[in-house]
């Protein structure tokens, strides 16, 4: 049993939520700065030194703005939606490791006492007391459903979006919410499928155990680069970031599902996406990039306090780096069209994730070296590209038979004639 102290847990909750919200605030600043730098501009630099207090000003603005609740909304659900969105996003942080962790000891098999060795019960007790002395940088340590809990809450996040879009009684909001829910539901499948292999190899859903496995065997990115790619792409889609930000297409949907929100409720809606991004980045770091380990360098530090701080910094550093990478990607590639988005999920990512999963099963069953998986991943990636290049048609020259030709075709021009 992991130790539970309500006071320490409350302190950790305050620290973690405060830290994550602070990171989210500075992610908004980072987003604006990065977009500015990419366009050869300076970015916000008026509030505080170099614009460092800009997030505070933005937050204050959300507090002080007039709160408009339109007459035509379904008030009850309208008020519920931001709470659901933010609540589910923050609850997912409960099992996310953000620093040094120790996995709970495995059960000790009960055997007849061997002379010269401790009996199983004593061994078990000793392991447990040893485990209790270690502080885990997780809100809920030793939770065996682990990552499954995050996926469950990720599915719940759709409700915030759907409620917001539905209760607003506004066409644009509803369209945005429908798009968003279709997208989130579709991308949940590759999101889960791509990491199934990780769980199969480690044999546990517990993030602490996954980190511990990677400490001894090497980071999962070495064995499953394709799964990392699929997982990252899916998390971008799940947190509605570019290139998958169709729920908030300003061009055609005004603001998307949060069109009718104002003041702090809008702030919460926007915050939710950043919390999702932070959670997703933590999960990528934990599942694929070795958690708090930094090529074994962190184990050279003798002092336990300093070591814990370094491990905390390593893991949060990985998280921040992944967030920044997401922002770089955001300002680099254009948006997908909706059919491209769905095709990518259903025709590319889900089959690839499934094949990857099957490969993991083979490796596990026949006891191959894990490095085989790397080769299989690379093969799958290039194979999918080759298959796509060979079979895919274009809009003007599709491979499949077109049932309805576009209007106004002159005689002699056959759409997809060749």
């Amino acid at each position: 049993m992991p130790p539970f102290d309500p006071y320490i847990t409350a302190l950790v909750i305050v620290g973690l939520i405060g830290g994550v919200l602070g990171v989210c605030g500075y992610l908004t600043l980072g987003e604006r700065k990065i977009s500015a730098w990419m366009q050869d501009r300076v970015g916000p630099n008026r509030v505080g030194p170099g614009g460092l207090l800009q997030p505070l000003a933005d937050g204050g603005k959300f507090f002080l703005k007039e709160e408009v609740i339109p007459d035509h909304v379904d008030t009850w659900f309208y008020l519920l939606a931001p709470a659901v969105a933010v609540g589910t996003a923050l609850m997912a942080l409960a099992i996310v490791p953000f620093g040094a962790t120790t996995p709970a000891p495995n059960p000790v098999p009960v055997t007849a006492d061997v002379p010269g060795q401790h009996p199983p019960v004593v061994t078990f007790e000793r392991q447990q007391t040893e485990y209790r002395e270690k502080f885990n940088f997780v809100l809920a340590p030793g939770l065996d459903i682990g990552v499954l809990y995050i996926f469950a809450l990720g599915s719940l996040a759709v409700y915030g979006v759907i409620l917001a879009g539905w209760s607003a009684n506004n066409k644009y909001s509803l369209l945005g919410a429908l798009r968003s829910s279709a997208q989130i539901i579709s991308y949940e499948i590759p999101l889960g499928l791509s990491v199934l292999g990780v769980f199969l190899i480690v044999g546990s859903l517990n993030p602490e155990k996954i980190i511990a496995w990677q400490l001894t065997n090497g980071w999962f990115v070495l064995f499953m680069p394709l799964a990392l790619l699929l997982f990252m792409a899916s998390t971008y889609a799940e947190s509605s970031r570019l290139p998958f930000d169709l729920p908030e297409a300003e061009q055609e949907l005004v603001g998307g599902y949060h069109t009718e929100y104002s003041s702090l409720k809008l702030g919460l809606m926007l915050l939710t996406e950043y919390v999702h991004l932070v959670t997703a980045s933590f999960m990528v770091a934990v599942l694929f990039l070795g958690g708090w380990s930094l090529f074994g360098l962190e184990s050279f530090i003798e002092s336990p306090v300093l070591g814990a701080i370094v491990k905390l910094l390593v893991l949060t550093g990985k998280m921040v780096a992944l967030c920044i990478f997401a922002q770089l990607v955001r300002w680099t590639i254009p948006r997908f069209r909706f059919d491209q988005l769905m095709n990518l999920a259903w025709k590319v990512m889900i089959p690839l994730a499934l094949l990857n999963f099957v490969a993991v099963m083979f490796v596990k069953q026949f006891g191959f070296y894990l490095i085989v998986l790397t080769g299989v991943n690379v093969l799958l990636f290039f194979g999918a590209g080759l298959l796509g290049a060979r079979t895919a048609g274009t809009i003007t020259n599709p491979k499949r038979k077109v049932a309805k030709l576009p209007p106004g075709l002159p005689t002699g021009v056959t759409y997809a004639g060749r």
């Binding site: 990419m38 990607v329 680099t332 274009t394 809009i395 003007t396 021009v413």
Partner: protein, 187 residues
């Protein structure tokens, strides 16, 4: 008119090859461009601290030029007021003082008022002026607390001339101090 069939060119979308189909190389290509831009020199002008240098032909606030003797150069011919598409110039002409008449000046503007809020800064008054008395300066940050403040009279317009010539931002662009043909006394 519908487009003739012969004029329509049908273009086929190019097919993606393997490299493009993989998407990741294209993404890395794009990241190279954007990250490269992140470290380039910024083009932002920090406006209130760092004031822009306007080109000499910028059309900002008007001024009324003075001649060598420091008198208003305007001869109250009403050409600018006539040319003005926004009707923002109001002139009341009066016979020039006696010592001015020795230089061939018959009239001078008793009042010369420009409504800077009404003005569209087209510069047609400057083009119309036969004696180069009215000019648009490079002053761009024109503000006021009320509508009345934005109605510039003769003194204000002359003071704009004084400040801009003293600051050296707007040298006088007149033709050597000679008056134009419209200022010549009728024979």
């Amino acid at each position: 008119m519908p487009i003739a069939e012969a004029d329509v060119t049908w273009v086929e979308e190019t097919k993606l090859d393997l490299w493009e189909q993989l998407y990741i190389p294209a993404l890395i290509d794009g990241l190279k461009t954007t990250i490269g831009h992140m470290f380039q020199r910024k083009v932002t002008e920090q406006y209130p601290e760092q004031e822009p240098k306007m080109p000499a032909n910028y059309r900002g606030v008007h001024r009324l030029n003075r001649d060598e003797a420091g008198r208003v150069r305007c001869v109250a011919c009403y050409m600018c007021a006539t040319a003005c598409p926004a009707h923002c110039i109001d002139i009341v002409a009066a016979p020039a003082p006696l010592e001015w008449q020795k230089d061939g000046r018959e009239k001078y503007p008793e009042t010369f008022v420009i409504d800077e809020l009404r003005c569209i800064y087209c510069g047609m008054c400057e083009e119309a002026c036969p004696v180069d008395a009215i000019e648009l300066t490079t002053l761009y940050d024109l503000t006021g607390l009320s509508r009345e403040q934005m109605i510039f009279d003769k003194e204000k317009l002359l003071s704009v001339f004084d400040t801009t010539t003293k600051a050296g931002t707007d040298p006088v662009r007149t033709r050597g101090g000679r008056l134009g043909p419209a200022s010549e006394a009728p024979k």
